[in-house]
Symmetry: C2
Amino acid sequence: MKHPILDVLPVPLKREAESSLTLLSLPPGEVIFRPGDHCAGLPLVVSGSVKVQMTGVSGNRIVLYRMGANDICTLSIGCLMSGHGYRAEAVVEEAAEAIMVPRQLFDQMMAVSAEFRTGIMASYGRRLDDLMLLVEEVAFRRMDERLEQWLASRVKHGMISITHQELAVELGTAREVVSRLLKELERQGRVALSRGHIQCL
Amino acid sequence: MKHPILDVLPVPLKREAESSLTLLSLPPGEVIFRPGDHCAGLPLVVSGSVKVQMTGVSGNRIVLYRMGANDICTLSIGCLMSGHGYRAEAVVEEAAEAIMVPRQLFDQMMAVSAEFRTGIMASYGRRLDDLMLLVEEVAFRRMDERLEQWLASRVKHGMISITHQELAVELGTAREVVSRLLKELERQGRVALSRGHIQCL
DNA sequence: AAGAACTCAGTGACTAAGTCACACAGCGAT
DNA sequence: ATCGCTGTGTGACTTAGTCACTGAGTTCTT
């Protein structure tokens, strides 16, 4: 099976998982779950990239975190256990492959393997850490710094394809703020702007 | 034993827990853990109130959430599992009682009881939800609304004992901002201010 | 009891960020 | 070429955060 958390399972259970679970192919733009949705099982991300974002009462959105290869959708466990609907939304960015582990099988895995439990809990811990850092970032850091850091962290060949609106959702701010900060960077000769693209120099 | 999560355990393990675990008394102001601390075990809060806050790179602090009676310090599980130090700090507000479950015993409980596992995971889910709501609040909601809501949520007999600085940490903003907003509320005749106290009218 | 030392609160001046309203540019469809 | 849609630029204004400083209320000293 293609997800490392399954490799820690004892052989019989691993076999069962391999035979009963299928690899889902998720095209970019696909919405895996939306606010209010009920949780069908635990998604394990095998490849690609999925962003998790939430919409506030005000209608504003913000990206909370991303999941990549080998990640576990920890958010789903809470929904699975408490029966609440999701509060956030998951959208595929780069075409992804995922495995959906149904609740019953998940329970079995948790019961049987200490290593599996540790993996799940550690994943939870990381997510909690991510969110704590995000709170700090949103509450205290300057937007120009955050923007530059975001750009630096995901340039590919000096070029990024994204609209100002999308970038605003990444940072949890308004489109106008992003436009103005980018314009200032352009004036400083640090980037070149064109419709839907940012060229980092 | 005094914490409900322990009641779901099978009798032998519950007995063992009752005999080996002691109830810790924590006076107000006591720091249960600080950033960087290593995790000794899973704290279960039996009574009282504990706030969890973090300090940003800028030195600013913000309260992330509170734990009350019957809560589980979910944050500790991540540290326990991954071996990382804490990123936040826990401070006792109202004198609290807590039980500290050492890692080995916690592992045993997780191994033995499905109900215990479900309780732990559900607690994790709630904490994630809290933090997601906090992100939204900090990113998008107006400070005056947040301040009024905070006051409304914890008035006792119309009176609150807190300094503007402490209130600023609750909301993740600057002391001056709190002072100004409170002064405006006083001008509107909604509160009466005195050193260290806010009287809600 | 008087003064020193400390904590808490108030405020002006300024910068950063968010909101609102609107103009206009790039691009695809007809 | 024109229309319509989406994306971007900008001015004017409000809200929030920062800096520097004053002064008021407490507690400690002697």
